[in-house]
Amino acid sequence: MLNTYTWPEYPYVQSDDQKNGTVKRKPVIVIGAGLIGLSAALDCARLGIPVIILDDNNTVSIGSRAVCYAKRPLEIWDRLGIADKMVEKGISWNVGKVFFKEDLAYEFDLLPEKGHKMPAMINLQQYYCEEFLVDEVMKHSDLIDLRWKHKLISLTQHDDHTSLQVETPDGIFTMECDWMIACDGANSMVRDMVKADFTGQFFQDRFLIADVVMKADFPTERWFWFDPTFHKNQSALLHKQSDDVWRLDFQMGWDADPKEATKPENVIPLIKAMLGNDTEFELEWVSIYQFACRRIDNFRYGRILFAGDAAHQVSPFGARGANTGIQDIDNLTWKLKMVMDGDAPIEFMDSYDEERAFAADDNLLNSTRSTDFITPKSKSSRIFRDAVLELSKKYEFARPLVNSGRLSMPTPYVNSSLNTADEDGFEAGVAPGTNCADAPIIADGAEGWLLNKLSDDFTVLVFGDAPDKSEIKLGNIRAQVITVGAQIEDKAGLLTQRYDAEDGAVYLIRPDHHVAARWRKFDEGKIIAALARATGQK
């Protein structure tokens, strides 16, 4: 098969730890250099935490994996310095078409809201994202030590640390760390080693996923077919990636034989039926997948924190796996930093489980619903599904019921114990537990974006009279005061609008850019109380 991409091979280097046979305890070890592990290391480095990543392989993601990345993960990657590269290399799209049998049922436009730095969605092959992450990691070699061909083979948990057995081409050696972030993917060994439960729903269906190279002039849109004439009783998807590579997805049914189905002589006719006989293409990757929706019972096992696919696995409809995994990291690192610095008690890490398990459940629910709609499980659900599709051709009311995957949106931590509930009236704006909306601003005479201006510590964003303080402190915990009209200007009025701030507003924003509390007026006592609550102070 053809390759538009050359997989880098990163060098294995024997570490001094192994060479010298001495065990020096490390602050943080990340297991797995996938999208999530690499992002975790970069986020640690951003906060000044030295970190080691161990990966059993020596290259980036192989095969057909993630394609779509949504706005929130791009915003997080922007803080890590790689979003611009991804957006530039990626494909932006807004239009989706839904087909039912031989007809176009309807089309939709994502109509992204204007005035955000990042687009609603881009498509990009997972190996590019990982390569960009590795390149960025290399730039931080002062803080990040990325070790290829280092496989974790066993671990022992102690009260104040974890000890690990690691295998390299030079044999097995021991390492120790205060904290471990397990990003070792859906088949996580770390999860087995701590005997965590990983339960949920398996779908009795198989999907053929093909990446093909074609220079066809299909528009850059997402096309989804329910029960198409070229693939009766199943579903199919066509979506563009970078470098003229297209992602094709065919539902195959539970009885499909994975070996037979992936043979070129069976795949090519299927693709021709979809694309038309005259369309020229070449196969890049073909594989068969089976999907599950499940999650770990607790994201924290003592000093081991689970993130990404190691913590939750979703079906790819709605593109949620990596998108939500990155948000795990965004939630995890600032908390870990506070605990490591002694600014928060160790139990503060339980809020990581509280908030991200809540988000995982939301993602699992959304993925399960899409999967149920795409592959109805009973005759009656099939009849309802087909009726919805039939009606959607003519009647607008039925379209919101069509579910070929919902756009991945961040889950607000509405019930989080770190939130301080609203006491002043807010009709709209950004509620406690929700990620901050971006908006165009002017700072230091230059145009910019709100999210780029928020502090790496807490921020107090003030609309109204500027307080006579530039920061608020609780012990070592800092909240930087930013007043709209002083440090930043609301360029287009969107900032005030998005924060429901015409009558003045004061937002306490966490280091992960989620709102902790908000009021109509600046009150230092209230801000300090909310700061204490948001950092698990006893």
């Binding site: 009973s378 009656s380 607008e396 009311f397």
Partner: protein
């Protein structure tokens, strides 16, 4: 009253899941009975004969 064919169902994903989940473990006959009852209950709620006629012909076509 005329038939509303614009978006009107609150939280469509929640609604759809509830409907499908309710019938998940039913026999086919039970499903038919439930659907019939559901039509009758909703028809009563709507009441207006012209609207019901319109809906019935749309559903048939």
């Amino acid at each position: 009253m005329s038939l509303n064919l614009k978006r009107n169902i609150e939280r469509p994903d929640d609604f759809y899941q509830e409907l499908i989940d309710m019938q998940r473990d039913m026999e086919e006959d039970q499903v038919q009975v439930m659907n019939a009852k559901l039509i009758l209950i909703l028809s009563n709620h709507i009441g207006d004969h012209k609207t019901l006629s319109e809906a019935m012909s749309l559903a048939k076509s």
